[in-house]
Amino acid sequence: MLVSYNWLKQYVDLEGVDPHELADLMTKGGIEVEGVQALNEGINGVLVGYVETCEQHPNADKLNLCKVNIGDAEPAQIICGAPNVAAGQKVAVATIGAVLPGNFKIKKAKLRGEASQGMICSLEELGVDPKMVPKEFADGIYVLSDEAIVGSDALGYLNLDDHILELGLTPNRADCLNMIGVAYEVAAVLDRKVYFQKPEFKEQSETAADYISVNVENQEDNPYYSAKVIRNIQVRPSPTWLQNRLISSGIRPINNIVDITNYVLIEYGQPLHAFDYDQFGSKEILVRRAKDGEQMVTLDDQKRTLKGEHLVITNGNVPVAVAGVMGGADSEVTDKTTAILLEAAYFNPSIVRLASKDLGLRSESSTRFEKGLDRNRVYEAANRAAQLMVELAGGEVLEGIVESGGRYVDCEEVSVSVSRANKVLGTTIKTEEVQLFFKRLDFNYDLEEDLFNVEVPTRRPDITLEEDLIEEIGRIYGYDAIPTTLPDGSTTQGSLTTAQKKRRKVRRYFESTGLFQAVTYSLTTAGKANRYHGLETDEEPSFVSVSMPMSEERTVLRRTLIPQLLEVVQYNQNRQMNDVAVYEVGSTYLAKNSELQELPNEHQKLAGALSGLWQTHPWQSEKKVVDFYVVKGILDGLFALLGLENRIEFEQAKRKGFHPGRTAIILLDGKQIGVVGQLHPGDQKEWDIKETFIFELELDLLFNAEVNPVFFEPLPRYPSITRDIALVLDQDIQAGDVKNGIKAAGGKLLKSVSIFDLYEGERMEEGKKSVAYSLTYFDPERTLTDEDVTKVHSKVLDYVKDKFKAEMRG
């Protein structure tokens, strides 16, 4: 809502409160003023001039040579290219030395040999939005009204000495979508009075009821409908003051009739519709639901197909307007119109909302209907429009108003007790103070001890509960005056859950390991979501997809974080940051079945992507590229941190999107909880990134695993004995399997097994490799002898020779 400060002065005394102060006070009171615009900003030296003569420029067809009186002894010669300039006009003249918006300075000039001492201005040149300029002045200069005094400052006549307050209204304060409502609010904030006059005009002896009848099929759809008839009007441009007020409200002046309905819309907040009575097609108004598929052509010359949920105004036969949304083209007011059928009505807000949404028509009118009008102002607004039609269009108003439904409704009563208000606000406001607040708000009440029974004016439909009145008390009292306290109720201990603590631990671990945390978008494409999930299944699952995506790139919710992390790798490598190591913790989603009937499965996952160099020593030319084992090592550390190191296994696997030979699934207690591997080089090429390794883990499964608490194990008191063995194995035998075999065969005395060498070079027989293991034997109860160890060790050797066809290497 744009509020003209000058216009507002008509209803509230603003003496001593400049526009900026007013803005601050309103904002503090709860109506946020988002901006204050001075219309004369950057304008200086524009005077009212009188065009005495206007002749064609001797050397230019399209230019006029004007003698303009600007109050000096001699008229100024001004060259003007506007087609509408003419002798006898009063115009706005930017004199020599004047400044116009955009820091445009007016200087003496010579045009085709003739001197020009200034410029006759168009509205656009004076900073008015070209979309707001009335049609008659769109291509030329602006013509002032006759009463403008020659030589005086023109800005006042153009209302450019005004300030516009831009209100940022919350949805509950639709009462401030009009000047009267704003006036009530400002009066409450400033503790001043509201003034306005009841519209008055002379009525003809003929009655409107003889010219029109009103029937409403369903009162719930349309609780009040009224029609007035105004005859003998003359359609013409509105006077300057009215045009100025519309322009300052962001509405383009059209003609006096349209302008009047728009003016009343802004002043009263009441949308009106003016039909051309002679084109209406009958003497009957019937308000009914549209028939499904019924069609009509609206004012914007669009053919509209209506639905049964829409409400239409008909002439008893065909629709002439979509209620509250837009009128029909057939009964539109034109230059030839002489009689007006004026509609002022209250339609059900949700019906208007639905229709304006369905038809894609949102207007100043429909938004006001949707947000709720002052039910008791409809009748007054009709009278205000009629009055203006008499004054500005020479109209004759027929006697009476033809109505359906009650003209007024009773105010709602809401009660509030002062003690409750103080309890909620934490204040000690006195009853007498609250009395004053309600007087300022212009709310009637009666008071029983500390209980106020308030008659809430119909302009404030947002107030329905005690809490709503507490808010009114609070905001008029001032939130700054509310004390600052700390809760004095029961104390509680704040804490994180176990999972939340673990998540922080995991994040610190990854960061200390050298990975950066990424946060990416949850919405992606089905194609991306169905790769890299690390499951054996190939069928497309039930993705969770949004019903109206904003772009093709964001249609479904992800089931894996990996594609987004690959995007991060790609983004960075495209920008010459080749060494990327990132991880993310985030939710993934899958529907439980194809029709989403219950909330989807939402799982937190932990994923990472590593590419480029892992370690470098810049001047020692030492470079370690990320490989599978770098990533595996990081994960090993993670599992140890979570106390799961002995329950995790890596198992060779083939998975979609992963390198077929360099991928493992990760098992916890034999159950798959994740996948790690190299991005498939084919995919890598498509992504256009460097060799990249990725992993993803199910965080919930990882965190929910029961872990025994740490329990101190006594330090060894006896020495251990280590034996190393090198085994020649077939290439396809996995070192880890052999290690597990050794462990099992070694029994209790075998404390640990580690792999310390791998040789696959040319000195090996084709298809063979050599893996060296270090076995540590230990007995916590005694010192082991060589014989003890040899006995177990040879058992181990026999076992691996037999089980893995291993040969001992020299």
């Binding site: 606000l425 700390l486 509680t492 949850s522 904003m550 983004y571």
Partner: protein, 344 residues
């Protein structure tokens, strides 16, 4: 004999002191202490001494041998150390060359901000509550006093999945869920951070996905003045001890009264600067007293219980705190951006 021994000692020690190489010292050892050396010789001649003098002379001979040996050892060590130092001088390195880089990552700035805020509220007795990002219409809207067809609820603003499910547009559904779990008994003190989604076109100040942190306190005697107190403490801990807060009336369907909360500008201390758009205040939170309908729907008696709720945007706070100008930075994950938050 005694004189002979003392002379030998003095002579040997003198030679040792003058020796400048290990070789010389070895020679001295052989010369004086060897089997054919003068001390051995003296000892051999001990038989000629009277029996009562022998022990005394034996002792003396041993002392002399001991003195020469220890002096020799001492000087050998000295020479060896000098020789080593000479070698080490050749191993001198350039200490100004850079060290081996240690790999280190860091948290995303949004996580850093969220954890900082979590910890502030945990310190004030709040717990951290989480909930699903795909929500039911009921928890996202209805339970928060936004019935279907409410004007403040615009379908255009939400990512709906079906008529009943949507991507949550706020983290407040977690409040409704948590209150329900408390079955009408207070106190409830939670903050709920998380991702939320709205149909906004991504640009410098809008993102279709962003973070939110909301807080809720419900108990038998919670007042708006307590909201002021908690938020003042929060603002001072997050932005500095001198911060003040200011409440302005506003509107949210789930609170009544509702307020916008401004914090005095931490850059200019309220004098006015570009960060606070010359007002001295920065809008940072929305808040209010929990609407009685919301309490009632979650099973709390609004006659007995009152509460406050507040919500803020970690992106906005991070942008203010770190001077980040474009919200899209948070989701591009440019390493040059992420690396700058290495103190978190």
């Amino acid at each position: 004999m005694q004189d002979r021994l003392i002379t030998l000692q003095t002579e040997a020690i003198e030679k040792i002191e003058h020796a400048s190489s290990l070789k010389e010292l070895q020679d001295i050892r052989v010369q004086y202490l060897g089997k054919k050396g003068p001390i051995t010789e003296v000892l051999r001649g001990m038989g000629q001494l009277p029996a009562d003098e022998r022990p005394k002379m034996g002792q003396l001979a041993n002392d002399v041998r001991e003195a020469i040996t220890s002096k020799l050892d001492e000087n050998i060590k000295k020479l060896e150390r000098a020789k080593l130092d000479e070698q080490l001088a050749n191993e001198t390195i350039d200490v100004t060359l850079p060290g081996r880089p240690i790999r280190k990552g860091n948290a995303h700035p949004l996580t850093a901000v969220i954890e900082e805020i979590e910890d502030l509220f945990i310190g004030m007795g709040f717990s951290v509550a989480e909930g699903p990002e795909v929500e039911t219409d009921y928890y996202n809207f209805e339970a928060l006093n936004l019935p279907k067809n409410h004007p403040a609820r615009d379908m255009q603003d939400s990512f709906f999945i079906t008529e009943d499910f949507l991507l949550r547009t706020q983290t407040s559904p977690v409040q409704a869920r948590t209150m329900e779990r408390h079955k009408g008994k207070g106190p409830v003190k939670i903050i709920s951070p998380g991702k939320v989604y709205r149909r906004d076109t991504d640009d410098a100040t809008h993102s279709h996905q962003f973070m939110q942190i909301e807080g809720l306190m419900v108990d038998e005697n919670v007042r708006m003045s307590d909201l002021k107190g908690i938020l003042t403490t929060f603002a001072q801990k997050l932005f500095g001890e001198e911060r003040e807060i200011r409440l302005r009336p506003s509107f949210f369907p789930f609170t009544e009264p509702s307020v916008e909360v401004d914090v005095s500008c931490f850059k200019c201390n309220g004098k006015g600067c570009p960060i606070c758009k010359r007002t001295g205040w920065i809008e940072i939170l929305g808040a209010g007293m929990v609407h009685p309908n919301v309490l009632e729907m979650a099973g709390f008696d609004p006659k007995v219980y009152t509460g406050f709720a507040f919500g803020m945007g970690p992106e906005r706070i991070a942008m203010l705190k770190y001077g980040i100008e474009d919200i899209r930075h948070f989701y591009a994950n440019d390493l040059r951006f992420l690396q700058q938050f290495n103190r978190s």
